[in-house]
């Protein structure tokens, strides 16, 4: 009896040892990733918050602690809210234009039409180009004198529009480019999700006499809901951090009419030498993005529990 118990505990011990070994192996494998994450992601984020509490020009060896001054100034500055508003336009655009557009494109590719392969390439092409190239390309497209867009307008007897010169028109012009460039990204996500829907669902729906519209609303849409949620998260975060296309096409320009938080922050940091202040902008961008993601996650969590 006693011997048996010993063997048992020994086996238990051995098992425990094995488990510890596995844990160690896992930890060692994770270490490089965790270290990279700590050093290059978490530490800079933390440091941004620290710098945002100082008045610092970014080059001087000394900096002055000013507490939350940068934040109070920032929240009172109209240019910040202006840039924030422009960012919100981009968020709205991504959610209400890009995602539906991506969905439509995915549906087109999923339907039984001819030339799907060509359409597939055509749809996806804009997303494959680098943002800077896209920006430069569209600067020429929008050229007030020789640009194809205005030539087309003239062809139909319409006046040329000075796209990138005016406040509202330059914002619209850039939003069009963003939608053009990023809708294909959502298309790919939706296509992948649609491929995963079992064919039997559609077959049984057909037997029950469901129309195409019904099939879409009762099968396709619910099945790809998780994808829509994660797309929304990507869209919101992506829109808040957008920078390159605005920087290339207008530099926040037409005065400040196309300023977004990214270009506003860039200017404060590298043109006006307000590193502390621009860190406060970065911190607020981070907080806003974090809150939006948490809200979307919560909504999704409740939806799933229903």
């Amino acid at each position: 009896m006693a011997q048996q118990a010993d063997v048992l505990t020994e086996a238990k011990l051995q098992k425990k040892k094995d488990r510890n070994n596995t844990r160690l192996t896992i930890a060692i494998f994770l270490l490089p990733a965790i270290l990279t994450y700590l050093v290059f992601i978490l530490y800079p984020i933390f440091d941004t918050f620290v710098i945002s509490l100082y008045r610092w020009n970014g080059i001087s060896p000394t900096r002055t602690f000013v507490g939350l001054d940068n934040y109070t100034t920032l929240l009172q500055e109209s240019r910040f809210w202006f840039a924030f508003r422009n960012n919100m336009y981009v968020v709205l655009l991504s959610i209400f234009v890009q995602i539906p557009l991506g969905l439509v494109m995915a549906l087109v590719l999923f339907s039984k039409i001819k030339g799907k392969k060509i359409l597939n390439v055509l749809f996806f092409l804009p997303y494959l180009m680098s943002t800077v190239a896209v920006g430069l390309l569209w600067i020429f497209m929008y050229d007030p004198v020789n640009g194809p867009v205005n030539r087309l307008f003239n062809l139909f007897g319409m006046q040329s529009v000075h796209w990138l010169a005016g406040g509202t028109s330059s914002l619209i012009a850039i939003l069009i480019v963003i939608a053009w460039q990023f809708a294909p990204f959502y298309m790919i996500l939706f296509r992948a999700a649609m491929v995963g829907i079992p064919e039997e669902h559609y077959e049984s729906a057909e037997i029950d006499g469901a129309s195409e519209t019904q099939k879409f609303f009762y099968i396709t849409l619910p099945s790809i809901m998780p994808t829509i949620v994660s797309s929304s998260i990507l869209a919101v975060v992506g829109s808040l951090k957008t920078f390159a296309i605005f920087y290339v096409m207008t530099g926040g320009g037409s005065g400040i009419s196309t300023d977004i938080l990214g270009t506003f922050m860039y200017r404060q940091a590298f043109i006006n030498f307000n590193m502390g202040y621009s860190s406060a902008i970065a911190a607020i961008m981070f907080i806003v993005a974090l809150i939006s993601v948490i809200i979307i996650q919560l909504i999704d969590y409740r939806r799933r529990n229903k």
């Binding site: 970014g58 080059i59 050229d143 007030p144 796209w163 990138l164 330059s170 975060v237 207008t250 993601v293």
Partner: protein
């Protein structure tokens, strides 16, 4: 338990999404750099660390001639100008076998940002180019730039007016190489076709504009999205209306202010030009570097452009045929104003400065002397299209000899506001001038906005 881990997981997920944004931003900025710029950065970063380790073991590096020394050198000039620097480096390295110069060229628009970032870390260049003025002063005030007043450089061989651009509190913080003059370039063929002559007065210029407009040619090409091309008009008009003291008095706060008549009137003159359709349509949305304004000039769609001497370089690079029909004239005299018509607007570019606390001051100064000696200056003046800020050089290039004559005859030289003023005031200047061109602000409002910010900074 499962719920908890789910919540945790979603938090991590959101975290990694946000972290993704950091990553992608970094990629995006890299994309902006054309070509090899990124690779070169890596090269230059590596030698810097070498320097650090060297000095840990050996402190008196400069006296020891066998010591391997590496010097990092940053500038923003492409093409021929960069070749001139490279040749100076080759000469210097031959004479000093133990010294290696690591040159890094960074495109103009990105250059400022790169220097700021490097200065806040420890990998700033030993020798770097700038435009002098308020931007350099910002680094001087932060104690990042070496005082060259008593160094082993003969300051007398530099042209005074250019050298003064990097003198702060009577101390010299940079030595100039080039001066870029701002003037009108025009298409002589178009002028001949419509019987036009180079304008002497502003009235003449207005007549030319009307004639060209009647013949469906855009009188003046302008790409004002980066805002500095339009700012040239503000500089010249303010000077022609109020003379060179208008700017100096307002900037130095010596009895002048930014809402003085000179600046308000300058704004009115700008808007008058816009209303006369003096410029190509949509000019406020055109980026200069992308070249659509130059394209209008090359393709005979527009007749004139107010630009820096760098335009000569662009022409030779992009459309050499145009040089045969190119002409130049100075900004015309304004009868109603008190400014001397010989007054020029010009920029100093580049000015060389040395980092404070560089590991090898003697080697860097010695290289700086090679970079500004007669041979380099001669090469530069022959090939760059710029006037050189060093005395005793023979000018052969036809355009540069015209520019040099203007500089020599100029009653005064106005350096660009956006490089002279402190960055925050410079930004207001650029934005308000841009808005004047866009007709979205009145001259009075622009001037007042400028004065208000100047008082805040004071």
């Amino acid at each position: 338990m499962r719920k908890g881990s789910k919540v945790f997981l979603s938090f991590v997920l959101s975290g990694s999404l946000l972290m993704g944004c950091g990553d992608e931003d970094a990629n995006d900025t890299e994309l902006i750099q054309p070509g090899d710029a990124t690779d070169e950065v890596d090269d230059s970063a590596a030698p810097d660390t070498d320097i650090d380790t060297d000095t840990d073991t050996d402190t008196d590096t400069d006296t020891d001639s066998d010591e391997e020394i590496e010097i990092s050198f940053w500038h923003f000039d492409p093409g021929e100008r960069m070749d001139v620097y490279q040749e100076a480096i080759n000469r210097f390295e031959e004479e000093n076998q133990n010294i290696t110069i690591n040159m890094l060229q960074i495109p103009n628009d990105e250059y400022k940002q790169r220097v700021v970032v490097s200065m806040s870390g420890d990998d700033s260049p030993d020798l770097f180019a700038s435009w002098g003025g308020g931007w350099l002063e910002e680094f001087v005030d932060s104690g990042q730039v070496m005082d060259l007043t008593d160094s082993d450089i003969d300051l007398d061989r530099f042209i005074d007016v250019a050298l003064e651009n990097s003198v702060f509190d009577d101390r010299v913080y940079g030595v100039p190489l080039g001066i870029s003059v701002y003037n009108f370039f025009y298409n002589t063929e178009i002028f001949e076709e419509y019987g036009l002559e180079e304008p002497e007065t502003y009235e003449d210029l207005l007549e030319i504009i009307d004639t060209l407009n009647d013949n469906d040619i855009y009188p003046i090409a302008l790409a004002n999205q980066p805002m500095w091309p339009g700012a040239f008009y503000m500089m010249y008009f303010a000077d022609r209306v109020g003379g060179e003291d208008a700017f100096n008095d307002a900037w130095r706060r010596e009895g002048g202010s930014w809402d003085d008549e000179a600046f308000v009137r300058a704004g009115e003159l700008i808007q008058d030009l816009v209303e006369r359709d003096a410029f190509n349509p949509g000019f406020n949305g055109l980026p200069y570097d992308a070249g659509s304004a130059r394209q209008l000039i090359y393709s005979d769609q527009a007749a004139m452009m107010l630009m820096t001497g760098g335009f000569v370089n662009n022409v030779r690079d992009e459309y050499p045929e145009f040089e045969d029909k190119m002409g130049v004239f100075q900004f015309p005299a304004l009868e109603e104003g008190e400014g001397d018509p010989s007054n020029l607007a010009a920029g100093v570019s580049p000015t060389w400065s040395v980092k404070e606390g560089t590991e090898h001051p003697e080697a860097v100064i010695s290289f700086l002397n090679t970079l500004t000696d007669l041979e380099t200056a001669q090469d530069y003046v022959n090939r760059s299209g710029n006037v050189v800020a060093i005395e005793g050089v023979d000018v052969e290039d036809p355009w540069v000899s015209i520019f040099t004559e203007w500089v020599n005859e100029a009653n005064s030289i106005q350096f660009p506001y956006d490089q002279t003023l402190p960055p925050e005031l410079a930004e207001v200047h650029l934005n308000t001038t841009y808005d004047l061109f866009g007709m979205s602000i009145t001259p009075q409002e622009a001037a007042e906005a400028m004065e208000q910010r100047a008082q805040e900074i004071e």
